[in-house]
């Protein structure tokens, strides 16, 4: 479905000089810097797969998606998506794909939701009876009946996102790109969208490439995860393995009623692989892997030996995982 080899996108950034004199100099002597947003990536996605594409902000996720969907022209590399070179055969290519950008609406702002859908059904040349049938199904699955006649601009974020998904899937594309489809949504709304996506994938065999900041999206939907950092793919494999390797990271933040010192903490936990930091005299942060140390054990020692006021425990976020991989502190 997707076949990318050595896919690269470079941007030339214009470095502005400071001050008025700098601005004047910029007129004739421009300073450019070339940045590789996506650097020689190889990616193969099969028909019907649901792939989570993750990475920190600015890692190159969006740039990749935009190349795959034909919006950006690659600087170099080989790319075939659904049998097309996306940017070259754009109109035909677009007929068979769907795209959702969480941050930007695909719908007509001033039109009622149902009008937007009707317009799209005609743009994609969906026969009337088929369109009716599909829309009814989507309305039912995503529970949209209540706001079909409201202009898009008046919808809540969660409602809008359901409409965006419908808009991207009404023409039953072979492949959908979803860029942050659950951003800013509450747990309930996220869950509804996830169930909808997995149902569509099962029923129609739609290939899905999904970027997200929320690992639980991927847990719910994707068997495969691709991670990008600084324009390069740093992980491509199953979610299970990724979680075993990095998802076990925990941080515990402790507030004490009296000042503690770092040496003392390290001494108390000397027998365990726990790393301590003390950003303030009465606060300490521990990082460790849940595979090596049971979080309960750490908490027990703390409560037994220290004047603890408050404890907060967190699982490692994607950003931190990516950072760890990149710094080489965790091996894949």
């Amino acid at each position: 479905m997707i076949e990318a080899l050595g896919l690269t996108k470079e941007f030339r950034l214009f470095q502005r000089r400071e001050g008025v004199m700098g601005a004047v100099r910029d007129l004739w002597d421009r300073d450019y810097q070339t940045v590789k947003a996506v650097d020689q990536i190889d990616l193969k996605v099969n028909r019907g797969e649901m792939v989570g594409y993750i990475g920190a902000n600015g890692a190159g996720k969006s740039t990749t998606i935009k190349m795959l969907s034909g919006i950006l022209v690659p600087s170099s590399g080989h790319l075939v998506v659904n049998g097309f070179v996306p940017h070259k055969e754009r109109v035909e290519f677009c007929r068979r794909i769907g795209v959702v950008f969480g941050q930007r609406s695909q719908l007509w702002w001033d039109l009622a939701v149902s009008e937007s859908f009707r317009l799209l059904s005609r743009v994609y040349r969906i026969p009337e009876s088929v369109y009716r049938q599909r829309l009814d199904r989507f309305v039912e699955l995503l529970e949209m009946a209540d706001f079909l006649h409201i202009p898009v601009r008046k919808l809540s974020l969660g409602q809008r996102m359901r409409c965006e998904l419908t808009a991207a899937l009404l023409h039953h594309p072979d492949l959908v790109f979803l860029d942050e489809p659950t951003i800013g949504l509450d747990v309930l709304a996220k869950d509804r969208i996830r169930r909808f996506l997995s149902e569509i994938n099962q029923e129609l065999g739609t290939t899905v490439l999904l970027t997200t900041h929320d690992l639980s999206d991927i847990e719910a939907l994707c068997s495969r995860v691709v991670m990008i950092d600084k324009g390069k793919i740093v992980y491509d494999g199953s979610l299970g393995k990724l979680q075993d390797s990095f998802g076990q990271g925990r941080t515990i933040k402790v507030d004490f009623s009296a000042p503690v010192n770092l040496a003392e903490l390290h001494a108390s936990f000397g027998h365990l692989p726990v790393r301590w930091e003390t950003p303030e005299s009465r606060r300490a942060i521990a990082t460790f892997s849940a595979k090596e140390v049971a979080p309960a054990e750490v908490m027990k020692i703390l409560i037994d030996q220290y004047p603890v006021l408050d404890i907060a425990i967190d699982a490692t976020k994607i950003e931190e995982i990516v950072k760890e991989i990149y710094q080489g502190s965790v091996m894949v």
Binding site: F11, F14, N57, S62, T63, K66, S69, G70, I71, L72, V73, H87, R90, V91, E92, C94, R95, I97, V99, F101, Q103, R104, S105, Q106, W108, D110, L111, E115, L119, R122, V123, Y124
Partner: protein, 261 residues
């Protein structure tokens, strides 16, 4: 081209417009006023002089009248060209356009269509009628047909130039650019180029051919047959300019970089 798509977008436009009828009337009136002011300027000049480079007041009115027709159609059909740089390229709305199965430029122009400027075309035709009756010119049967073809050519000249200008947004950083400068130049097309010195005249004919938007074709309908050859070139110049502008747009599109996220 996709005729059905054009129809779909137009229907949608009319629907939205009907919801804001008051705006429609206000904007049409404003447009008309703008045209009236530029005409008034011409009339004031002629209270001081009998002719400009051999062109009388009525002839100038006739040419200004012709100019108003393609100008109005341009503002109606190609209004999007004013917004391509800021809204579509810099703000990244082009992302949305590029993932739909319709020619991107056609989508933008259709989305941005505005019917209010058409009042200017009606006004322009009325002015031509007035000028021609003052000059004692009768209607010949082929004139309406030639008029349509020449107007189409003139609109394409504008459309091509402004499409190319919009496409410069693919190279530039940030907003604003040369468009205001060129917009000021558009006014030159509505006066006889013979009043300009050699170089300016040459530029307006062969480089930025605004003379084909007003003067040359307009003169044909005032029976200035010595300019008929130029007038006849209008559709060809229009096709060439629009073709070049479109090619430049396509070239620019390959350099589109989108926005951050």
């Amino acid at each position: 081209m996709d005729r059905e798509i054009v129809w779909i977008y137009l229907q949608q436009y009319v629907k939205t417009k009907l919801a804001y009828r008051a705006d429609f009337i206000i904007e049409s009136t404003a447009d008309l006023l703008y045209q009236a002011v530029s005409l008034a300027f011409v009339l004031i000049v002629f209270t001081q002089v009998p002719d400009i480079a051999g062109w009388t007041r009525d002839e100038i009115i006739g040419i200004v009248g012709y100019f108003m027709v393609p100008f109005a159609l341009f503002n109606c059909l190609f209004r999007g060209s004013w917004y391509i740089r800021d809204q579509y390229i810099v703000e990244g709305q082009l992302d949305r356009v590029l993932i739909r199965p319709v020619n991107p430029l056609l989508q933008i122009y259709l989305e941005m269509i505005e019917l209010e400027p058409l009042s200017g075309a009606v006004f322009g035709i009325a002015l031509m009628g007035y000028a021609r009756s003052r000059l004692g010119i009768d209607l010949i049967w082929w004139e309406p047909f030639v008029f349509v073809i020449l107007v189409a050519g003139s609109v394409l000249v504008y459309g091509g130039i402004f499409t190319a200008l919009a496409a410069t947004g693919f190279w530039a950083e940030g907003r604003s650019g040369v468009s205001p400068l060129i917009y000021n130049l558009t006014g030159y097309g509505r006066y006889p180029v013979s009043i300009y010195k050699g170089a300016v005249r040459w530029v307006l004919t062969w480089v930025i051919p605004f003379a084909f938007v007003g003067f040359y074709p307009g003169a044909l309908f005032l029976r200035h047959d010595e300019l008929a050859l130029y007038a006849g070139l209008t559709p060809i110049v229009g096709l060439i300019i629009f073709g070049l502008g479109y090619r430049y747009w396509i070239y620019g599109l390959s350099r589109y970089r989108g926005t951050g996220s």
